[in-house]
Symmetry: C2
Subunit: 475 residues, 2 copies
């Protein structure tokens, strides 16, 4: 370590206080690897500020250092694309927000919760529930994922159909720029047309424009009534016809509309213990639908929609949950999808989206392409079909080794992405770009769009020191 | 006119085709003045492109010209802050989108409408209704206001409580940068985390970053049932208690929650013919509430909320509309506010917002301040209280001349804005900054926020030729 590095660490230690700076390699290690173990890098220290001021002061020290110090913000380190993992070049510090986890009181009249970036999503959900409200954002990693990362990656999840993704739920935020400047966008205004949408721009920028330190999240009143049904459909094309029926009859209270392919259902029933198939016969595909609201009329709404679907042969069968345990049982068929596919062998996941009308075409073409390339592959798509977001997952053929499957599967991934690209879709619906997918930005978002993103990056971070190598491909 | 200007106009005429270029001063005049007649400027021509390609080509010609040509985009010219009016310095061309008014077919499954920027909001509403859907955005000038301007100014209006402002309703857009580069962000994806939120950034940028040429707008299913009530309240503090009751009992179907002060109600009843007061006694203030949804249970929801309000003395009286003509009659009490104040004399308007919990404080303090400065002024606030957006309007005292009122009223405006600023509110909730309010940006949005906005402006428009003098104060 050079004298100047040692001096910087001394200054940072003084600025961040006890427990505020980690320099021991054993302690730093976990911050330098993503949880999928796809990426690892190096850092000279982990900064753990206790508040925004300490972070601001620490970043000013980093900004003044020669040679330049790169700064990599990290939340719960649950991201899927390596967006919070430092590289192994230059001088990196990781900024962990995990000590900043205060949850402000819920303001029920404002309908918001103020929280520090290091609070977990689950703790924020609990705080909302304690006040009789709901934070309508839910993802699999919510027990560890932190709000700063949730907002920085514009997390989606199963409730986005009704409530939108993280960007739609952020009423305000505070951030610190890489030079230490504090940016206060916390004001809670439902209408404010005074200049550019900095808040919306920072959401989803994956820590490359600023480090989010506090967020004000929109809450909703808790809903008293849930009605859940599983529908069996004759084919993928009927999924959209069923969606039309439900949007027309229950648009205001449609809480979830989740697709499960026939193969995905079979794998779940085969590999997960305790699941029971609630219909009399298997079908080509299924939709799990939930309505949620304040009054008992939901049941009649659900039943009238199902009646229209069955009469029109949009659905061939349907079952309505009659108790909360049946609600849970039906939802398990959807929620156990990832686990059942893990139990079934190696799998290749595709986080893709297209416009809602294009979903049947996507399913049809991608299935045909995969079938042609690898006839025995288990094609097990499921997901948030109401958002056009399909987890188009492929599971290892029963007679093929995992290594062979993962190697040969690259051609299937390529074929799937070509189909999505032709449909003007997205190669990353929910998970972001991170460092995993930067090489796709040129092809998918190149030209004027990528050029503007680069200029915006330079406007916030002219030296390119904040989370380098993420989102934007290296020139 | 210089030779180079004449040459440019010849080139532009060839590029834009018949009817594509106006150079006659009589024809140009209306484009050089805002409709409130607060601002006027000069332009050497009005460009009226027939499509995006023609606009792109024309802007490339302007970019190549020496000296620089400034470009001012204009929609229906209904803005309230002079955001679409050229200044009288340098070489300006106005770009009018009015020939680009095609409305694509409604995609009912996608729930979107593709439209060119020059289509009026009313024509887009009609196209949605024709397909059995609703474009849930409504403003007073919707018959003339064009979609490009609606999106560029992030228009709000009376339905924003439930559906959000324009930014929340834009699924995609196409724009042209000042150098003629086309930016295609039209893809209709409900989930897409591939880079920075350019679309959200362009919405509300008031034509200073790019010229919006096409938009894809989110539609909603048409709602079959409306229930409307007028509530009389004992004081302004009860407004929020009533809001709490309605959000709890009818959060999903709460379509409108509009405040009318006692004075505003009196002025409406006094000056507008044909209005009838539907309650037995006058009250300090009123709330007009509407629920809208798909089924007949709304009436019971409304009645149970009113019952709770009356029992808790949050409301002192209430009337529920029993027919569509009564619905219209109750809504007229709100909709005639602007007209009645115009009939009552000169008025000074304030387009302000605060967080919802701060509304009673705002009303209380601003009323006291105005009363102290001008005891006889008629303080007649009304507005979108559920959004924290109050039209805090002042009407000329009966014994004072309009000129004196408007002159002396400046001190009242200053006092009101000081109170809003102390409450961390906004001086422009809906109408934007334009050129009318740029001088307020330094005080209200200065420091890091304004500095970043300037750098973003430079990222999109390094020469500062696109709508100069708007949004950002001149250095």
């Amino acid at each position: 370590m050079s004298d100047s590095q040692a001096h910087l660490l001394t200054q940072l230690a003084a600025c961040l206080g006890p427990h505020g700076l980690l320099t021991n390699p054993d302690q730093i290690g976990p911050y330098c690897q993503d949880w999928r173990r796809l990426f690892s890098g190096r850092a000279i220290a982990v900064l753990r500020p206790a508040d925004t001021q300490a972070l601001s002061d620490a970043l000013k020290l980093c900004a003044a250092h020669v040679p330049p110090v790169n700064v990599v913000p990290q939340g719960g380190n649950t991201g899927l694309c390596g967006g919070a993992t430092p590289d192994d070049r230059g001088l990196n510090v990781v900024v962990s927000l995990s000590r900043m986890k205060a949850l402000g009181p819920v303001d029920r009249t404002d309908g918001t919760l103020l929280a520090e970036a290091g609070a977990t999503l689950a703790s924020a959900q609990d705080a909302a529930a304690h006040a009789g409200m709901v934070l309508p954002l839910s993802i699999a990693s919510e027990g560890s994922a932190q709000l700063g990362g949730i907002v920085a990656t514009n997390a989606g999840g199963s409730k986005a159909l009704r409530y939108g993704s993280a960007r739609d739920l952020v009423a305000g935020l505070e951030a610190v720029l890489v030079d230490g400047t504090r940016l206060d966008l916390l004001r809670s205004l439902r209408k404010d047309n005074t200049g550019y949408a900095l808040r919306q721009l920072l959401v989803g920028s994956e820590g490359t424009l600023a480090i989010i330190t506090r967020v004000r999240l929109k809450l909703r009143p808790a809903l008293a009534v849930r009605e859940v049904a599983l529908c069996a459909l004759p084919d993928d094309a009927s999924v959209l016809r069923l969606f039309d029926i439900f949007r027309k009859r229950a648009g205001d209270v449609l809480e979830a509309f989740e697709y499960i392919s026939g193969t995905a259902m079979e794998i779940a029933l085969q590999y997960v213990e305790g699941l029971t198939f609630p219909l009399s016969e298997r079908a080509p595909c299924y939709v799990l639908v939930e309505l949620a609201g304040q009054d008992s009329s939901l049941r009649a709404t659900l039943e009238s929609a199902l009646e229209e679907a069955l009469e029109g042969e949009v659905a061939v069968d349907a079952v309505v949950a009659e108790s909360s345990s049946q609600v849970a049982m039906l939802w398990r068929l959807r929620e156990e999808q990832s686990e059942s596919q893990r139990l079934a062998g190696a799998s290749i996941k595709h986080d893709i989206s297209v416009s809602v009308p294009a979903v049947p075409t996507l399913l049809d073409k991608a299935t045909a392409a995969c079938r042609a390339l690898m006839p025995d592959v288990r094609i097990a798509p499921f997901g948030h079909v109401g958002d056009g977001n399909i987890h188009f997952n492929l599971v290892q053929p029963e007679g093929m080794g995992a290594d062979v499957f993962l190697r040969e599967g690259k051609t299937l991934t390529h074929a799937i992405h070509e189909i999505v690209h032709d449909l003007d879709g997205s190669f990353s619906a929910e998970h972001g770009v991170g460092q995993l997918k930067t090489d796709m930005m040129e092809t998918w978002r190149g030209g004027a769009e990528l050029a503007l993103m680069r200029r915006i990056k330079a406007a916030f971070d002219p030296e390119g020191r904040l989370n380098p190598g993420k989102v934007l491909p290296v020139n």
